[in-house]
Amino acid sequence: MPQKQEFTLPSRIESIEEAALKAEQFARKLGFGDDFISAIDLAVRESVTNAVKHGNKFDENKQVEVSFSDSGEAFEITVRDFGTGFTVEDVPDPTDAENLLKVSGRGILFMRSFMDEVEWSNPAGGGMLVKMLKKQ
């Protein structure tokens, strides 16, 4: 039976931990194991970090919308911010030699490494929506 959880968080650092905790509780309740939950946890942290920091730029008047769902075949995470958006292709590859010593820019790489599918879209009403799937 499909399961879903949706919630909204303010754009502050503490929301990252809160979203990760909710993801772990949701996934654990559904019986997922530690490795699966570890991947989910990292993807949630990195995507909510991006939404809070780069999307909403810590503007607490802007919310971060998060959802988790389990279809029985895949675990889906969506995270939406209300920022100005970005083009994912424009994000430099952090593994290129010239970017190796940059302090930031590795979050998207982690999301792609630990989830099976990651895609970004521009929903009506503005902002960015990232949808990530991890197959069971």
Binding site: I16, R45, E46, T95, L100, L101, K102, R106, F110
Partner: protein, 115 residues
């Protein structure tokens, strides 16, 4: 409760930082940055960072390791890593940072590499 605790030991002219907890965006990353700045301010620029107790690190924490590495290099020093957890090793491999950091499993071996 703090996300991270950083204990400092001295082994000859090498300073060992034993990290435990989380190195993540916010408090954990800031604490690490402050610790490295303080050591460099005290002229301690041979640093061995023991990550055995780090249960969690995110991309901001990895970025802070890189920032520490470059800050120490700029001061003519050396920063090396000790006892990576499997998770941290995986993240450093994905980011190709295993090619940047000197990494050791054994403390004595790590210390002798500074000589």
């Amino acid at each position: 409760m703090a996300d991270i605790t950083i204990a400092e030991r001295q082994a000859g002219d090498v300073t060992i930082l034993d990290l435990s907890g989380k190195v993540t965006i916010g408090e954990g990353s800031v604490a690490l940055r402050n610790a490295i700045r303080r050591l460099l301010g005290e002229g301690k620029n041979k640093i061995l960072m023991n990550l055995a107790g780090v249960g969690y690190i995110d991309s901001s924490g990895i970025g802070e390791l890189v920032s520490s590495f470059t800050a120490v290099n700029k001061e003519g020093g050396t920063l090396k890593l000790l006892k990576l957890t499997q998770k941290i090793q995986d993240l450093l491999a994905i980011t190709k940072l295993l090619t940047v950091f000197d990494v050791f499993d054994d403390e004595a071996e790590a210390l002798s590499s500074f000589e």
